[in-house]
């Protein structure tokens, strides 16, 4: 049995310890907001938070994230849209939308851990692929989020508090 803490709930799963978290989320738990893009940690579509940090779930075996707080896009907005999600609406960012769960998770974790990332820090940590080319709007949204930062957390507050 694998026990996972996902979006504040304890889930028992009879699965192989080496199953990537992505497929446990999508196929076993029906949490389809986390997307499959490449399977080799090369696109970021599968990004989720583990203890508030962004990880690529397609290459993360479930055995490695037992006893952690896992947050998916479904859990991120459980208490209402976060500032990042609101900025995504304000800047009308998503096109096809497929990459955006991962983008939002990656940007949220970055801004939570680094209040004022410079261009290089953003470039280094947001290496997610968007085939629709929403990058220019994402850059503007990130700049706005940095400039207008409030106390509202960027990641699921319960997941971070428990670290």
């Amino acid at each position: 049995m694998i026990e996972l803490q996902i979006n504040g709930e304890t889930r028992q799963l009879d699965i192989e310890p080496e199953m990537p978290l992505l497929w446990a989320l999508r196929n076993e738990l029906g949490l389809t907001g986390t997307k499959f893009g490449c399977g080799i940690a090369a696109c970021g579509a599968c990004t989720v938070h583990v203890n508030g940090q962004a990880i690529r779930s397609c290459v993360t075996p479930v055995s490695a994230v037992q006893n952690t707080q896992i947050t998916t896009i479904e859990g991120l907005s459980a208490g209402g849209l976060t500032p990042v999600q609101q900025a995504w609406i304000q800047h009308q960012i998503p096109q096809c939308g497929y990459c955006q769960s991962g983008m939002i998770m990656a940007v949220s974790a970055l801004l939570e851990s680094n209040p004022n990332p410079d261009e290089q820090a953003v470039a280094n940590s947001i290496s997610n692929v968007c085939r629709c080319g929403t990058y220019p709007r994402i850059s503007k949204a990130i700049a706005g989020l940095i400039a207008n930062r409030t106390d509202t957390p960027f990641v699921d507050a319960t997941a971070e508090a428990s670290v």
């Binding site: 490449c38 080799i40 479904e74 629709c132 220019p136």
Partner: protein, 745 residues
């Protein structure tokens, strides 16, 4: 297909106490192959529908797929504007892809699928069917940048205007006042003189008694209230909280997952499969399915299916193409261009004679590789066969086409197939119905089960089993007369593709000869965002730039000098150049390049400003784009489509390369089929231009073609190195500029 069969139909009915208004057009598909395979009697139908319910909710049903282009917002806006509907009370639904085929069953099936009794259906011939409409209709799936310019302009607006007229008539009758005294706004009808008003919902069923007008009066642009504004897109909220459902997210009860390996060499057949026992013993594995050219493992979890698949040892037959490489293919192209039969594309004047009499003939050979689409959502399709019926869950650019395809493969009547539409995680031409290998596999695999099976491709399979943008070689010769006028343009290229005008030039050159030569390859090809424009604009606009430098003319002025008869083109060029600061020198270490193209009814000019990294790679700092798309329906969405098109084209220019080795595709995933990322994304400025009286142009594709030439031209200005083959990742550029103007053919 004759024009007369492309008819428009319009009908109204009382349904559920409200008004249901339908509009349809025959819809020959984009390519003849689609027509042949998917359309009955050469025609299929698209419908647009408007429903007004007694509670005053207006529902617009959109017959196109949402793949990020904003069609679920822009089309309803067009209907709602003509209807004078209150946008806050407009709902949007995607049309179900059931029973929409063929004249008689069109409305009946559609209304039935929404739970209504079949309304009487009235055949009408809309008066505004013009030749132009017929021409546009040749591209009428979600593709060809056609949704707004055709379905919107001809369908949505007409439906909205016709419904408004019917509501006004109903109010006039109810109040016994002349229709001319009646005004409409915010989903209500007003008679100001008597201070009376009624909601559309209250009038809907009375309005449905009237016949919709054959030629409803459309608004003038100055009367628009929604068109031209940037209302928030209706699909975005679900795309920020993870609730948007893509094909891959379908989870019908009891679903199994299929992972597939297809013959890596196109055309190879499956001969045997080794190590089946080991695979079958893996946890969760249900069955191994052998298809003619592929093997699949079906399991209760995709990861398990894929893991077991890796244990199999499939053997595929050898083919004639087993030793073919990209090098061989380009050598064939050269041989064909040297000796192959030439087919005429454009002949103006006598280019051969003109070239013979010019002192200096400029020649250049260009080429570009195959490209994959690499939509973010890997190809997938979920199919269930049960009790003689079939259900399909997938995101596709043509739900009706997919229904037809599944029916054909499964040998079922189309009416036995139900397609559930989903959002597309990227289309770009990959999810068109003529590119059906995933659909065919999913159908054949699921046929062996009585539970739903999702066939999901790995990224590797997605990259290696695409319908690729064709590789193309293109050769040019040009000549100037003694006063420096460009008098001859000769171009020969490989492979005529769509759209037919892709290799045609806007510039007035008195002698032109454009030919093509066929040199088929074994690599499957399909439509790739902007289709043949993406290759040819690189060729045409790079070579035009070569000619400008050769004459030591400013690339902008050189182009303008040949556009005296094309004022819209000239304006777009000037506008892009102005906004990019063309007349002022670029900042130190940077240079600018410009390119122009008309495609899908829109005219686009782009200026790229580039610099070099320390290791000699190109960095695109800034792109300024001016686009004249006739009229802008949704400015913010228009800008976002243009930004998207530029990034898509820029990714191809910088990284795009699918190589054939030993008959198969070498690249497999994002590590070797690289993508532009945030860190390399340029600042993009978009200038939207309108042209009064011009028909609406496309937006999803036209921004893609010019960017590769704009960047290459900027690189030439910066380094003196002319790029005649993409992608740019294969080059290291050397600053500072060497002597310019030399054309090293």
């Amino acid at each position: 297909m004759s024009i007369s069969r492309r008819r428009f139909l319009l009908g109204a009915a009382v349904v559920g106490g409200g008004l249901l208004l339908g509009y349809a057009s025959t819809r020959p598909s984009r390519q003849s192959i689609a027509n042949r395979d998917y359309a009955e009697d050469g025609q299929t139908f698209l419908t647009t529908w408007l429903r007004i319910d007694p509670d005053n909710i207006v529902t617009v049903i959109v017959p196109h797929s949402e793949m990020g282009q904003g069609v679920l917002t822009s089309l309803p806006m067009m209907a709602a504007d003509e209807l004078d509907a209150d946008w806050a009370n407009v709902r949007v639904e995607q049309a179900p892809a059931t029973d929409l085929f063929a004249n008689g069953v069109l409305v009946k099936g559609f209304a039935a699928s929404m739970g209504f009794a079949a309304p009487a259906f009235l055949n009408r011939t809309m008066d505004f069917v013009t030749l132009k409409a017929a021409e546009i209709m040749n591209m009428q799936i979600t593709g060809g940048s056609s949704s707004v310019r055709f379905t919107g302009e001809m369908g949505m607006r007409a439906a909205g205007a016709a419904a408004r007229e019917m509501l006004v008539k109903a109010a006039a009758q109810a109040w016994d006042v002349p229709a001319s005294e009646i005004a409409t706004r915010n989903s209500r009808v007003y008679h100001e003189a008597s201070n009376r008003s009624l909601s559309y919902g209250e009038l809907a069923s009375a309005a449905a008694q009237f016949e919709p007008s054959r030629s409803p009066v459309l608004k003038r642009p100055d009367q628009f209230t929604l068109m031209g504004t940037s209302v928030p897109r209706v699909d975005i909220p679900a795309k920020v909280d993870g609730t948007a459902q893509f094909g891959i997210d379908a989870m019908p009860e009891g679903m199994l997952y299929a992972a597939v390996t297809t013959s890596p060499v196109f055309g190879g057949q499956l001969q045997s499969v080794g190590n089946k026992d080991a695979a079958l013993q893996q946890r969760g594995v249900v069955r191994i399915v052998e298809l003619s050219d592929a093997v699949a493992v079906v399991a209760d979890n995709y990861w398990r299916a894929n893991k077991a698949l890796a244990l199999l040892q499939p053997v595929f037959s050898s083919t004639d193409a087993d030793n073919r490489s990209s090098t061989d293919i380009f050598a064939d192209f050269d041989a064909a261009l040297d000796n192959g039969e030439r087919f005429e594309d454009v002949v103006v004047g006598d280019a051969g004679q003109a070239l013979a009499s010019t002192a200096d003939v400029i020649t250049a050979n260009y080429r570009v590789p195959f490209l994959a689409h690499a939509a973010m959502e890997p190809m997938n399709c979920t199919v269930l066969f049960r009790e003689g019926r079939c259900e399909v869950w997938t995101g596709t650019q043509d739900n009706l086409g997919i229904r037809g395809r599944v029916a054909t493969v499964a040998d079922l009547d189309e009416n036995s197939v139900t397609v559930h539409p989903f959002y597309l995680g990227g289309g770009f031409g990959r999810r068109l119905p003529m590119s059906t290998n995933t659909i065919d596999q999913a159908t054949l695999i699921a046929q062996q089960f009585d539970v739903p099976v999702q066939t999901l491709w790995s990224r590797e399979e997605d990259t290696r089993q695409d319908y690729y943008r064709p590789a193309v070689s293109s050769r040019f010769r040009a000549g100037f007369d003694s006063s420096g006028n460009l008098v001859a343009w000769e171009n020969a290229y490989i492979g005529k593709n769509e759209p037919v005008e892709a290799a045609h030039i806007a510039y007035s050159i008195p002698n032109q000869k454009i030919d093509y030569v066929e040199s088929p390859t074994h690599v499957p090809f399909g439509a790739w965002r902007s289709v043949a424009h993406s290759q040819h604009t690189f060729f045409l606009e790079s070579f035009t730039d070569e000619l400008a430098w050769k004459q030591q003319q400013d690339p902008l002025q050189f182009r303008l000098s040949m556009l005296a008869n094309k004022p819209r083109h000239a304006r777009v060029l000037r506008e892009a150049a102005d906004k990019a600061g063309w007349s002022t020198p670029a900042p130190a270490g940077r240079a600018r390049g410009i390119a122009l193209q008309e495609s899908f009814g829109s005219i686009v000019a782009e200026v790229a400003e580039v610099s070099l990294t320390d290791d000699g790679r190109v960095r695109v700092e800034k792109v300024t784009c001016a686009i004249d798309c006739g009229r802008v329906v949704h400015p913010d969405n228009a800008a976002s489509q243009v930004e998207s098109g530029i990034i898509y084209g820029l990714t191809a220019a910088m990284y795009g390369q699918i190589s054939i080795e030993q008959g198969r595709v070498k690249e497999s995933n994002f590590h070797d089929y690289e993508m532009l990322r945030l860190s390399e994304s340029p600042e993009i400025q978009v200038v939207l231009l309108e042209s009064e009286g011009a028909s609406i142009g496309g937006l999803g594709e036209p921004a893609t073609p010019p960017i590769s030439a704009a960047v290459s031209n900027a690189l030439y200005a910066l380094t003196g190195q002319r790029v005649r083959e993409l992608p740019l990742k294969n080059y290291r550029f050397l600053p500072p500029p060497v002597e310019r103007g030399a054309v090293d053919a």
